[in-house]
């Protein structure tokens, strides 16, 4: 990979005002990536603060019920702050600290990344400001208060569609306003180089643990690894370790909202075309003139019109498969995993569970599938109740 490229995808398409800042992040990351002390500090945070390694749990009831592949769940939902997002923010905020930055800014959709960033900022004594679409501040009001509790300031974003895409726009704008002492903690494997690489590196521990844990339990590699994809950080983290293991199928599940052919969806691989936006060349949901499409999913975390450039490459080279999953399928899977295994997954992760339920049945009993449960579903309970017609509010 040269200059942040993944095949034709990637790059760094940012305003000149940000170029030195982006280059500074790259230089610092290249240095600390190889720095023993940095890596030791990060590993200690993962172990003692985030609770890593996360469990690899054999879902025996689900396996039996579906009657196909043996199903394991990678329990990123058990991490501190309740999702895989902590892996990335601990790395980035530690890096920001080493670079002498005083302040971190971040975008958030559902609030998972915002909460994680606010947490890491509290831990490492950094000022923290979070940008969140106004629509999402309403959908996830509890997370707004959670971030404030952690000492962050939350700015509702009122421009555009008032969701994740607009939160990214506004965080980039904020970075151009105050760049010298500020580090942008990007939440997914997207944006300008070095972010897609750096976030993947901080998340690849997921796949590395899956491999070690499964080798210990089963003495072999899985046949499939399944994860949900919005920007794609949990999927990239789960897939990366297996890219060279060609026998392992890598399956990303995108949010198809009301249906992959319905105007209200967020399935970028299924419906997107190549474009250049948010600092990267990748696939985006857009119209013939390159206007970014308003996307929709029940999951605020997958409600994004683009996808990380490395996923775009894995799709193009056919190394990974990407499938659409609707709101209805995800909600059913949310309920299914809760009732079957006593695990309430994030609605984002439920997209992966939904596809895994179909896929498992087509596989044989001696095959193994790992589903990445990227987050826990407590935050979604009220929204799912409303989806099912029960009027409860947080």
């Amino acid at each position: 990979m040269m200059n942040g490229r993944y095949g034709p995808f990637g790059g760094r398409y940012v305003p000149e005002t940000l170029m030195n800042a982006v280059l500074e992040v790259e230089k610092a990351y290249e240095f600390y990536k190889e720095d023993k002390n940095f890596q030791q500090e990060l590993q200690a945070l993962y172990r003692d603060y985030a609770g890593r390694p996360s469990l690899l749990y054999y879902a025996s009831k689900m396996t039996k019920d579906l009657g196909g592949a043996k199903i394991y769940l990678k329990r990123e939902d058990l991490n501190h702050t309740g999702s895989h997002k902590i892996n990335n923010v601990l790395g980035q905020v530690l890096l920001a600290k080493k670079m002498g930055k005083k302040r971190v800014i971040a975008e958030t959709g559902a609030g998972q990344h915002g909460v994680a960033a606010a947490t890491a900022a509290a831990l490492m004594d950094m000022e923290c400001e979070i940008f969140m679409g106004e629509e999402d501040t309403k959908r996830q009001a509890l997370n707004v208060f959670r971030m404030e509790l952690l000492g962050a300031r939350v700015h509702p974003v009122t421009g555009g569609t008032k969701t994740l895409k607009d939160a990214v726009n506004e965080t980039m704008r904020e970075w151009t306003k105050r760049v010298e002492d500020t580090f942008y903690v990007l939440g997914s494997v997207m944006g300008p180089h070095p972010y897609p690489m750096m976030v993947r590196d901080f998340q690849k521990i997921i796949g590395k643990e899956i491999k070690e844990q499964l080798l210990a339990k089963e003495g072999r590699l899985p046949d499939a690894v399944i994860a949900c994809v919005g920007g794609g950080s949990n999927a990239m983290g789960a897939f990366y370790e297996f890219i060279d293991d060609k026998s392992v199928r890598l399956i990303g599940c995108e949010a198809a909202g009301l249906g992959v052919d319905h105007p209200r969806n967020a399935a970028t691989i299924a419906n997107g075309t190549v474009g250049i936006f948010h600092g990267m060349k990748s696939l985006f949901c857009q119209d013939e003139y390159g206007q970014i499409a308003p996307v929709y999913s029940i999951s605020a975390g997958l409600d994004y019109p683009g996808i990380g450039p490395e996923h775009a490459m894995l799709h193009e080279t056919k190394r990974a498969e990407y499938v659409p999953v609707t709101d209805e399928e995800a909600v059913s899977a949310f309920e299914y995993l809760s009732k079957t295994e006593g695990i309430i997954p994030a609605i984002e992760s439920a997209h992966a569970v939904a596809h895994a339920m179909k896929e498992a049945k087509t596989m044989t009993k001696d095959q193994i599938m790992v589903i990445n449960i990227s987050g826990r579903g407590d935050k979604d309970v009220a929204a799912i109740a409303r989806y099912r017609g029960v009027e409860i509010y947080e």
């Binding site: 760094r12 305003p15 250049i276 936006f277």
Partner: protein
């Protein structure tokens, strides 16, 4: 020495393409030396609220890259000053790079400003720009430091000097050391330097014209367009005239 330049920006299609066309004629008549036309984009990350909203208004009013090209082609028969597009990478890339720049040439566009295309990525469109003789305008910012000379050496048309940190929009004061930035450009190139971002008053325009070759004004004009809607032609004319007089007197 040449007279100092006044560069005006309008968002294409705000409030509609007919008004934009009238604006081009009147802005030239008012004395502007170059006109920048924004091709509206859904997510303009370098813009402040004023121009963001103008982009939204233009898109809602049905402005597309195609009908903007058609309007400029028509206006070009009358307008003599250089015309430059300002837009983001995605509308260019999605239209098809070659097709886009061919259309630019066919409607008489002289240059292009792409805020999210930094020096390191300019190969993305440089070939097409050269083929169809559209100058790729480079930007320098207060954070550019050692990058300024590198950028200036390869710059074409003029160098767009971003006056302040942040996004476009009116500012009460510009605190950047513009003189040093301009001097760095001039140390490697004879290319003109125009300063933009934050300029709204004749006094500010005069100040930047004193240290550079020209002043660029966008948000202040777009604000008038918003305020007066279809009746914006005369107020914009009066404003541009006043601003041109201010920079001319330097």
């Amino acid at each position: 020495m040449r007279e100092k330049a006044f560069i005006a920006f309008v968002t294409g299609g705000d409030p509609n393409l007919d008004i934009t066309e009238q604006l081009l004629y009147k802005i030239e008549e008012a004395g502007a030396d170059l006109i920048e036309i924004g091709i509206p984009f859904s997510d303009p990350i370098a813009e402040g609220p004023v121009i963001q909203e103008a982009n939204e208004r233009a898109l809602k009013a049905g402005c597309t890259t195609d009908n903007l090209f058609a309007m400029v082609k028509r206006a070009r028969k009358t307008v003599k000053v250089p015309l430059v597009f300002l837009t983001y990478m995605n509308p260019i890339y999605t239209y098809g790079k070659k097709r886009f720049f061919e259309a630019c040439r066919d409607c008489g566009i002289d240059g292009i400003i792409v805020p999210d295309l930094p020096f390191e990525e300019k190969e993305e469109i440089l070939k097409e720009c050269k083929e169809f003789e559209v100058a790729l305008i480079s930007l320098i910012a207060p954070t550019s430091k050692e990058r300024i000379t590198r950028i200036a050496k390869e710059a074409e048309g003029f160098v767009y000097c971003v006056s302040s940190l942040g996004v476009t929009g009116i500012r009460s004061k510009i605190t950047t050391d513009l003189k040093s930035m301009v001097a760095l450009v001039k140390s490697v190139s004879a290319i003109p330097v125009a300063v933009g971002f934050g300029i709204a008053t004749p006094e500010q325009a005069k100040e930047v014209a004193a240290v550079a070759d020209g002043a660029i004004v966008g948000s202040a004009i777009v604000k008038i367009v918003k305020e007066y809607g279809a009746g914006c032609i005369e107020p914009v004319y009066a404003y541009v005239r006043k601003m041109k007089q201010a920079v001319k007197s330097v």
